[in-house]
Symmetry: C2
Subunit: 350 residues, 2 copies
DNA sequence: CTGAAAGCGCTTACAG
DNA sequence: CTGAAAGCGCTTACAG
């Protein structure tokens, strides 16, 4: 009973593994890190020994020797939903690699300068950029000048010189429209997002292309302007719904505006999805908070956090060894999540 | 230019400080940790030297020696808003103390057993419990049996045997009602939360007490049942608003239901706050997503994360030294955040 | 109250 | 391909 916890696991050290495998600690280290060449035979023996002892590297000890990676995470738009999902993934990766994640929020339009100063003063070796900072040219420029590696997260405009991890906004929106069409919708309206944001542009482009692909018209009256906020979705929805002939579905450029559409429809005594299908983009908690829940496009945000940490770590390692840094763009799979707000046979599922 | 980053800071080691202060490394260590007795004079010299060199402890090295703390964070209700704010605070504290935070989500009703097993297998030394897990007797019992320290976060029913960090739900709700009354409201309705949740009970109790304190009546028709979800807030709001004489304000037990009230009011052509004041509790992102933004009670969630890590670390240290563990309950300040949804002179601020 | 020695678990050169 | 030695920066006993 006593010492139960300590015995649980993680007892074995590199030396225990070395002894059991009949090799030197050095060799075990090499196998663990999989970096230098090791005889296949030896590798096998070490691996078996490690597995048998349930060996786990002591990341703290490794960090003490190597100098642990300090990864800065810069965020501005306090989208709690995005941040928490991202943090879960990023922390997970940091935890297992012994890196430290330093959060820095940048406030206001010009706040990014101070924020980056803070991170640099804190000694970070690389910085993760979340939207919309990841698309800011001045930010990327400053980081390049400081020679600090960066990874752009969920950017829609990946730069040639910066690593990035994202989904394909264009394809995501395309799939969503196809989904609506497959449900039998022919008259689909769209609410645009902030025209300055690249994802908004891509999603709109995809909407038009998907409609054209299906041979469907998009009269100007079927497109409304929005700014990504719930509030901006209110008048946009009114404009689309107060026409003599209503569209059968509205695709809003994000969940906030889709939620606003639902609210307006409700106020007009329209039942969603019976009288109107509604869908959004992002799969924020709002999508499952409002009623009916929103059909939307889901991004694997947690996985993006993991990958972002991997990418930045790799870049930092390259920099330390004075190797040329490798810019890598990773595209992760999105998926359309059908929920009640666009359900065809809604009585059945209600 | 070269090596710019490395020079930035964090260069100085314990030995540099020792040399400059003319003492041994040991003494510096003692001063840094502030634990054992050190001559005031010596302490001063060391502190000055440390400041001059901008010395920072290398947490990795310390962890290598001491064995770093592994802190498990158990969460179930995926309230992204709460989680992200909490993580920011908790990570911050972990970062500066060199602890590792291990996240574990528990799915389903019985998932907590597996989740705790996972954490224990992962070798955590203590566990942070977020709501609603923090109020689960079986969970607390299992942890006690395993002899793993725990800290309950945002619990409304702090246990005598478990450390906790929280705000005073009762006082928070009391303040909110007083706020509404100070705005001139006399006929205030309430939407209850899930009756199984202790915070819901406390907030309702506070509502009744505050009304009584002001000599105001609360007829049964002014109280509606809710379950904390947006969806449950819809019929509750309808019930309260479809009476011949409407209340002038509705206080919902959380933000989700308050948002539902706004939606229903809007559907009935009632303007918030002109025709009806609405307020919630928690200050989730939803409060600033919907329009008008919701007046609500804010919890310092980030700070709760910091404090939770402090409390659990202290407990783990006690356990390691086989000292009796100190149960500590920390009450943090909440505050009422007035926003447009309850603004008296709403034209002025719109 | 203060210090000299040894070691946390791992990795970086340097040899073979 | 493999190993012996030294050291990362700090702290734990053990002395004085």
């Amino acid at each position: 009973m006593i010492e139960k916890q300590r015995v649980a696991q993680g007892d074995a050290t590199l030396y225990d593994v070395a002894r059991l495998a009949g090799v030197s600690a050095m060799t075990v280290s090499r196998v663990i890190n999989g970096t230098k060449r090791v005889n296949d035979d030896t590798r096998e023996r070490v691996a078996t020994a490690a597995a048998q002892l349930k060996y786990e590297v002591n990341v703290a000890a490794r960090a003490a020797r190597v100098g642990s990676l300090r990864i800065g995470l810069l965020y501005s738009n306090p989208s709690a939903a995005f941040l928490s999902a991202f943090l879960v993934g990023a922390m997970d990766q940091c935890s297992s690699s012994g890196a430290r994640l330093i959060l820095e929020k940048c406030e206001g339009q010009r706040g990014w300068r101070d924020a980056i100063d803070n991170l640099v003063a804190g000694g970070v070796n690389g910085i993760l950029l979340t939207p919309p900072l990841c698309d800011s040219l001045p930010v990327l420029k400053l980081l390049a000048e400081l020679d600090i590696p960066a990874v752009a997260v969920a950017t829609a405009r990946p730069s040639k010189s910066t690593s990035a991890v994202r989904i394909d906004d264009y394809e995501g929106a395309l799939s969503m429209v196809r989904h609506l069409i497959s449900l039998g919708h022919r008259d689909i309206a769209f609410i645009k997002g902030d025209p300055k944001h690249t994802p908004a542009q891509l999603r709109y482009r995809a909407f038009l292309d998907a409609m054209e692909e299906a041979g469907l018209e998009v009269p100007p009256a079927r497109v409304a302007e929005g700014m990504f906020t719930y509030r901006s979705g209110l008048p946009a929805a009114r404009r689309l719904l107060e026409q003599s002939e209503r569209p059968s579905a509205i695709f809003a450029c994000n969940d906030d505006m889709a939620a606003a559409v639902v609210a307006v429809a409700h106020g007009m005594r329209l039942e969603v999805p019976r009288d109107l299908a509604v869908c959004g983009f992002d799969d924020t908690p709002l999508a499952t908070t409002v009623w009916p829940n929103l059909t939307t496009v889901h991004q694997p945000i947690g996985e993006m956090g993991q990958v972002a940490v991997e990418l930045i770590s790799e870049q930092i390692r390259c920099q330390r060894k004075r190797l040329p840094s490798v810019v890598e763009h990773r595209l992760l799979p999105y998926n359309v999540v059908p929920r009640l707000s666009s359900t065809r046979d809604w009585k059945a599922s209600a």
